[in-house]
Symmetry: D2
Subunit: 473 residues, 4 copies
């Protein structure tokens, strides 16, 4: 497979993924440490119980259907419960399912999807199915699949190809199995990160003749689509779900306000009261982190270079500092700037013993983790997602999720938040699938506030979110 | 064994503990759901890997010592890491260890202890040992032992008798093994709950001749001591650690402010923003819960009967209500009144679908869980510590920890908080052990602010807490 | 003078201003109630000491200059102190004065201004003068002039025509005196509300030949400029200062967060703790009001029709209601929606005895005050800006500032906030005055982030705000 | 008059009161600066309109009664309005008036009082009168009398001897006029500060034969009573109103949370957002100040020597510092430690230009103001209660209320808070007056939770506070 320039990021990411050996040692620590955990639906399920690759297994669901590839079909019951729990916190999507069910606005739609396989995605998929669509699905991340949810979907008749702990080769194999099926051609794409779209571009470009549109959720994927569009290579309309107001506010401010606490607590059990914390960046994510930690009694410092955001930090009562001013005294360092190398080796060298370092920002590169992989430093994996990096003098820093996104790696995204994105995705599919000839060109669009004669849908969605909100209040 | 009246509470609690069957089904859901968890040092370790009772195993540590009974000595390395992590958040205790090490104020002390066996307790025990004491230890709770920590202690030469998942018979057997040893007699008791003290009273009353004092941490245990004292049966001085100011503030206000969020998040992943919550009781625990949830964007109502606390709730911006006024609309119900049957079946019947119900209060009886064990209601264990109770019409309420203390069952107590209690316990032992004849009678005492010529110790302790605090700020 | 359609708003406002009789009774209550007040620099000075109209007085400053018309030149010393106090909270403007002083970027500029005459404006005027400009100034509001500041400016050589308590005729007379001077023609306009601009359009349209640009601060004035532009009648470039990000954030969120408390306290001394408040509207102003009152222990409800803002209110922990749901129970009603008739007679009829009603929104018409002027209701002016409206059954509601903007009428705007606007105004004047031919057309512009080769200025400004901010933190 | 040792404090205070000259310059600045103020009911009224001493005037009320001495009986109408406004925020006292009116529990009581003469006191006096008591009243402070309220009381038939701006000689003359009347002897004392009690002890010791008890509100007065009791010289029972829980919480935490903002705003108009503040002391007052300023976006540091309070500050998210660490950078310094010389000249020398310094603590001596009265420093009174102290290099610090209590001098105490104290005072009078022989000895008591067969009263009171609270919520 040839990768192009725009895939550089992703390649890099693959390189950073733990090697076999790394993961093995991870497994060891897991089997020792944790068990009766209070982990949640979104936590990643264990693959240690069975070392056979799903690709080498033959499984069928209770109706004899075997068009899927997952870890263990026997986990279906437990996965079903997780899905039912999720449904309770996704009122807008459930309302959409209920109202549009008679109408079947997705009748005839053949949706191929590539997203995180979680209970919330399952609610989305079952909603699409209730609205008339056929779905085939792969995971957009090699670690994030909830095996029991994948099992429940397979048991429910969905063609799912995903498990927790895929290799890179598995990853592309799963995507290919979704797309490449005799006698079935997708006419809609639902993507998260652009890998699925990329694969079809590379391997089956002819498929785009039948495809009515792409719905893309992630920053990265949207960025790729705009690149394609600029280069004149985008051959179908695409819907940018990432940049809707609600998604922005929810995924960032409100979600991070909760997940920063959750992520830190689950990994380190640190007490927040009285701790000194520096938050790098005061965008929406930083605002959420700062508000939460302040409320828990932490003393919070902010670094920020944008003058408007800096003023906001200041007016919100946070002391603006340069990282170096406080690096020796803080107990926790959190990055969320969107930039590279915000915390570098020099900073890490100066931190005090026991300092916790983690990233809430978009990219993996805010903390220069690579700089810590030098011979004089010892890494010790103390728990899943928690490394002690030990200096020659015995000083330890506590690095979370190897500098990857803390809230994706070590916390859970509240279902209510995901509900809003999932509803928007469903509406985008409905809109693109039903849009009259000519409404959308080969370009990237934001979801319109009104959708032709179907403008009720979006109102309904907003209405339902509101209904939820109001019934919550 | 005959139990007396004052042990009624505990008996009741034993009856409530899951039966074999209950625990089996629990184990099943665990093995399916969680593994690569973000559970912490304090989370309870799994016993499912090996069904042999520790009582039936012969184990020795690497030095050939076998005077202990634990789950699996091989977990010692992992336990040692947990202890080392804990040390980092227990600066006051570590400072006490360092300063008093030369002096050995506990030289000759033979301490028998019965507490939760966790990493934090291990730091306490190793401190006592560094100060000159010999220790034998059992668990004060059949579930709370961290097996790997017990292993590390055994490997380090401590006589520990404890594992996660003891039966009631195991429980008393372990205590007896601590006390009943040829050629060794305890001269100090460190108790949490009063079971150890009770056992010695019943079985080995003569031991009290050599015992210099009892240090007791829990409300229940302290209550028993006062009863004994009143009845003229207390035959040694006792130190009430429970009622110190720092412990009260830390265990209640500051600790609960964090653990309410943690406990709810780990069990339900609920998003707090926009949720309606009723908190029953506005004592220190209630204040902590309310402050935390308000900060996360919940709308919080308070029920309170004490006029002063009610005024405080009011002035703090919480709407005072009667439970019935809001029971139909709230998303979360939290009890922390210290009273019985605060939430009864009638309230539970009126809650809306998906309502989460949990207890942060002292006793297990704030929520009338027994009233939910009727034929028309279906119980479904969806995760560890999480039950769905399902009404005939399909309504579900989400009951956490079967109404037991949420923060003990589903969260972790921050090490920093435990550090303060542990330091106080150590100081109380030092004081009682070294007090001149006549300073303490056969009565229950609070730790004095100054300890005779040793008043440096308490200052040091306060000093160190302060030092920590100030170095944190 | 003929007024045109777009001036309707203003006319209406004039009609609402207290009549002679109204003001007299106001004066009476003042002389009784207050004196040794803690009123601040921005509070409006008394005109009751001397009933002679300034237009009938002959005054000269200490240098013999008489080209001004103010209340009392003898108050100059006191005004100077107020200006000096203000300088301390306007660091960005003082820095601009200092840095650009050598360069004199406004050399040759003849600025005619019409703004509130306050200590902060004086700092702006003296800065413009230091940068090389000549200034003539009138008040944009008949009540807001600080007489002592006007005196200090006159004493300092500025041609100021303004006093507290002008009649409508006085108002236009003052503006005319600024503009209509033999041998002097303005080449720059600094306006707040558009009255000055309007006057020149009507009376001296030829002046625009020499005018290089208009800088306008207010919503109303900017609105008028866009109307002119649309109609093709705008004959010089104009700079819209109102819509800069900093102004928006400062004037609304951060400023109102403080002034809602201040305005309520100074007028009613109400205790916020435990009070129930409904805030109508959750835009920036509403967000500020809600945050402040919540922090003071009030129970806050929000009404909001925009779904995004409603979601934000919800996620921020405020209960969304319809006004009618809570109108009977609340202690305070605050409007800040930007709409008309948000609180109508029917709502007012249902409020409880003692309910406080006030407006923080843009227009005077959010509360339908006119509906209260019916025979069965008695109005009682209990203090300046505070009316009791009394129902036949004795119920009183407490109406503040007759429904006008509470924070302008009954509080003070912090100098720091005004400093940011004033700096932006100065920069806009510099930019328009120095812009090369053709950079600006006859249109309305926002201040550019970079100003040609002078882009250092804006950086300097931002830099100074930042410097202030950082030195504050 | 000879003063004794225990009166030293007060003497000192008298010495600090502005001299004639000082007050004259004060008057000048007032007449220039303020007028149409938004000052409130509790603001102190002006005496500048009429320079004749009330002692030299002959005034009668509309019924021809002249047994009073106040500023100006003509202000009675305005004072009546202030009283009516106050009644609305004093529900518990109004309820007491209503319920006990039939019963007249104070029939025959002759109460001599010495308190602040404000609208709230007037509501208390009129309640006592409605319950059957006769009252004669003087002011406990030479500045705090609201002249218009005194007028309304005189008009209503009360014998009031008080005006704003008494001399020390006036002060004692007024007290004497209350007590020393032919044919009338008090049988109850209601005191605030102990001056009235002291006067009777010195001048009319025989009066105590008929006096049934003393109700004392202030810390100072209570302290004196305990001294008398210790010395065996207390000859009647006394009730300590100061140390009731509600008073403590209300007067300190909740009240100061609001008045710190109000006091700073009215005197300086400072913007709180982004300001750096150091609060000296983290008792109840400090907690209130810190919470309020944090909520307004200030960055707050705390100094504290008590370890428990320090821990609380820390856990509440405030950085603990030593004053010297931050003195150069802070914008505002607030003292509330209860100690002397917390801020000394050395600290004042190091403050930055424009730093605001004020005291919220009990005594006048927390800021060493005397140290600022040296020749090289210039004092400039810029507004009432606001002095600029100017260093030779031009640096100014802004000193509020000359270091006296900010919230008493520059803010208002919310009526709701005063209502709780006033209700307690009334109940204490009822209890002492009606207590059976022997219930109270010649000692100092706290108000009992139950009052003999009258225990309904205290319940009623609590009940009403609660009723208010609950109806507020």
């Amino acid at each position: 497979m040839k990768k192009q320039i725009q895939f550089a990021d992703q390649k890099q990411e693959f390189n950073k993924r733990p090697t076999k050996i790394g993961r093995r040692s991870l497994s060891r620590s897991i089997s020792q440490s944790s068990t009766d955990s209070y982990s949640s639906a979104a936590s990643y399920t264990d693959s240690s119980d069975d070392e056979t690759s799903p690709r080498d297994k033959q499984q069928k669901n209770s109706k004899g259907n075997g068009d899927f590839c997952i870890k263990n079909i026997k986990q279906a019951d437990f996965g079903r419960r997780e899905i039912e729990i999720a449904e309770q916190e996704m009122p807008a999507l459930m309302a959409l399912r209920k109202r549009a069910q008679g109408e079947k606005p997705l009748a005839g739609a053949k949706v191929v999807g590539c997203t995180h396989i979680t209970a919330q995605t399952a609610v989305l998929m079952e909603t699409l199915s209730a609205l008339g669509a056929q779905c085939r699905w792969a995971a957009c991340n090699i670690y994030s699949t909830q095996n029991e949810v994948a099992a429940a979907l397979a048991e429910g008749g969905f063609s799912v190809f995903a498990w927790k702990g895929e290799s890179e080769d598995d990853f592309w194999w799963c995507i290919d199995r979704c797309v490449n099926l005799e006698g079935w051609q997708p006419n809609m794409i639902l993507d998260d990160g652009g890998d699925l779209t990329h694969w079809i571009y590379k391997k089956y470009p002819n498929m785009f003749k039948k495809i009515k549109g792409i719905v893309e959720e992630s920053v990265t994927g949207v960025h790729r689509l705009y690149q394609l569009s600029k280069a004149g290579k985008l051959c179908v309309p695409a819907m940018n779900v990432n940049d809707s107001v609600t998604k922005q506010k929810f995924d960032n401010l409100y979600c991070c306000r909760e997940s920063i606490l959750d992520g830190l607590k689950r990994t380190t059990d640190v007490m927040f009261g009285g701790k000194q914390v520096v938050v790098c960046g005061y965008g929406e994510v930083g605002k959420g982190c700062c508000a939460a930690l302040k409320a828990m009694g932490s003393i919070v410092y902010v670094t920020e270079i944008d003058p408007i955001c800096a003023l906001q930090a200041c007016m919100d009562g946070f002391r603006l500092v340069k990282l170096n001013e406080v690096i020796r005294q803080v107990d926790i360092v959190i990055t969320c700037t969107g930039n590279k190398n915000v915390v570098v080796r020099e900073n890490l060298d100066r931190m005090k013993n026991g300092c916790i370092v983690c990233n809430m920002g978009h990219s993996n590169t805010e903390i220069d983790v690579a700089s810590l992989r030098t011979p004089e430093l010892t890494w010790e994996r103390v728990r899943s997602q928690v490394d002690h990096v030990i200096w020659p003098d015995g000083k330890r820093i506590v690095l979370l999720a190897e500098g990857r996104l803390l809230n994706l790696s070590c916390s859970t995204v509240p279902t209510f938040v995901l509900s809003i994105t999932a509803t928007t995705q469903a509406l985008a599919l409905i809109e693109l699938y039903n849009a009259p000839e000519g409404r959308y060109k080969q370009d990237v669009y934001l979801l319109p506030k009104k959708m032709g004669k179907r403008d009720t849908h979006i109102h309904m969605s907003t209405g339902n979110v509101m209904k939820t909100v109001i019934s919550n209040s």
